[in-house]
Symmetry: C2
Subunit: 176 residues, 2 copies
């Protein structure tokens, strides 16, 4: 699939409601269990998505629109959620993410981007030259990547409990 | 995590609403795209989950309760959805899955299972001896496995569109 706003926006809009439907009524143990040392729980992942809304996608889009590739994007802090989520309930995080995503989609729409804008160039601090279209496609794919991670982190809590069925459940078998 | 009904039921209850929140308002292309020949789209996956509600989890539970390991479970048809979903909209499939899951959770609860029941034995046609607890844990893990698959199938539609960011998105990189 090549990138279009018509395809991308419904996925970006769905993510907050997917997270709420999935996580809001789960026992604490599902939300807070990870895959071992230095891995993330669903709670950590929601915090990471919040930090992305605050510092990554739309701020980078607006830097690219304002300055092209003359200034690299600010590096993203992949561990900010461990500091910023402290003391917050999952419900608070879900509310925050829902509101930030709503607001960021509004900001994206306010720029009235045309397909010709998707080739405009920015500069990633590690990856080098990137396009506006690649940035927006990555916003979508990053949501999906972390929804997949939530499924895997939760599923792997039952690696032992499923007994011989583990053979039929590829998600439980290996860590990615 | 060892298996308990208190942990398992909220995950089983959430799945229909997760699927609806995720897929209901997406453009057709997301719902119907797969990962290539002989792979499944999100639409196919919902059909597969429906077939599981009809023929797998609760029917196997009830066979196990009635006959123990004296009779193997009926083999599961992993391709039934290609026949059974034909001509149905995604909305119809989501409605069907929601209703079947609701009804199956009711049937599960009606058996008033105790932790001591989780060791009762059944027989899988390929895997051999399994326990009731393993069967129910697999119902949960199977949901999560296929939610992870939906994330991956959708994400991989943007493998090219994300450009150099593919390096940071493990879900897009390899097929599982």
């Amino acid at each position: 699939m090549s990138f279009t706003l018509n395809d991308a926006l419904p996925v970006l809009r769905a993510t907050p409601q997917v997270l709420r439907a999935w996580l809001e009524n789960l026992p604490h143990v599902w939300v807070r269990s990870n895959e071992g040392p230095d891995t993330w729980s669903p709670y950590d992942i929601v915090g990471h998505l919040i930090h992305g809304e605050r510092t990554d996608w739309v701020p980078r889009l607006e830097l690219l629109l304002a300055q092209g590739d003359s200034r690299p994007f600010t590096p993203f802090d992949r561990f900010a959620q461990f500091r910023e989520s402290q003391g917050k309930s999952l419900g608070e995080l879900l509310d925050t993410f829902t509101e930030l995503r709503r607001s960021n989609i509004g900001r994206l729409e306010s720029h009235r981007l045309q397909p010709s804008d998707f080739d405009r160039r920015g500069r990633h601090p590690e990856l080098g030259p990137v396009t506006l279209g690649q940035l927006l496609a990555t916003w979508v794919a990053h949501d999906l990547n972390h929804l997949g991670q939530i499924a895997r982190v939760m599923g792997r809590q039952y690696t032992d409990a499923v007994g011989p069925w583990v053979e039929y459940l590829p998600l439980l078998g290996t860590r990615r």
